[in-house]
Subunit: 155 residues, 2 copies
DNA sequence: TGGTATTTTGCAATTTTGTTTCATTTTTGA
DNA sequence: TCAAAAATGAAACAAAATTGCAAAATACCA
């Protein structure tokens, strides 16, 4: 993907908040025709700038969701162990996000489950059954103050 | 919103991964006509089960994004102070997510910036200029292992 | 259990949106 | 300055979403 211009930024800015706006409306907002907008969106998707298009679901309507921020400390820095662990986290559906971080701990996880029983089982699966893991600390969320993936466009 | 049924779950399951699939395709996958799917989606949106529809953008294409997990500890538990702080986090565009958590710290933030200068300025704005905040700890992400908001449907 | 009211559904028609074509304009690079 | 490449808008086209309506399924109550 060659350099993005200001029009691309504006399109991304709109779509990272609402990707159901029509190309006509986007075009009107930024001063382009619908086909021009459509070509840009297609290219943004093909090149991976737009990585995914999703609905954000409010889990409150599906039960009593429990969000937990988990800090994971590893025994070792061995690349193979780290990579295996990453792969396991990636494949676990309850893990919404996983960051490999600097500092005292190695991983930060955002996990969502619907019961504590489910979380307990998950900790066994993810942590206790994994010899590479030294310890983990769970912080339970009492309030999801902000929830999204949007960020300000640079410059 | 009255009780969701299995068909709603399936629709949500599909759309939380890709909300550009056509209603016809969804209908085919779950055994409903396109209009039936459309009515369900409309209701899911109106009632807030589907909270938002967005494009996920890969910030790598816009510069050198820096993701930071920040743990924030407050001086006090006073509700007004806590609420003001929540509101500030909510309104800050660089804050992607904010969880109010149990344990040693009070808030967990996922922050994205494009330069350390920007982060430094942000810490002043959010933390140093806020007397309610006792201390904060930044963990810089070296690798975003997993990145999303999807979760497994219950049951 | 039987009957009625309510809701949900599919089909067909309509409307809106997305996509393609093509000639023109703009930008790029030599 | 000029030629090649890229991007654009208008119009035509295709596909998707939406609406109206009658039939089927479900829920409710006597």
């Amino acid at each position: 993907m060659q350099q993005l211009d200001k029009l691309d930024y504006k399109i991304l800015e709109m779509m990272q908040v609402n990707n159901t706006v029509s190309q006509r409306d986007i075009g009107e907002a930024i001063g382009l025709s619908a086909p021009a907008v459509q070509r840009r969106i297609t290219r943004l998707r093909e090149t991976g700038v737009i990585r995914q298009d999703i609905s954000i679901i409010d889990p409150e309507y599906l039960g009593s969701p429990i969000t937990i921020v988990v800090q994971v400390e590893m025994e070792t820095d061995k690349v193979t162990i780290i990579n295996e662990t990453k792969e396991r986290f990636r494949k676990t559906p309850q893990v919404q996000q996983c960051y490999y971080v600097t500092g005292e701990v190695d991983f930060m996880l955002i996990i969502m489950v619907f019961t504590m029983k489910e979380y307990e089982a998950l900790t066994h699966e993810l942590f206790f059954n994994n010899p590479g893991i030294k310890r983990f600390k769970s912080s339970i969320s009492m309030d999801i103050v902000k929830y999204g993936l949007a960020f300000p466009m640079p410059k």
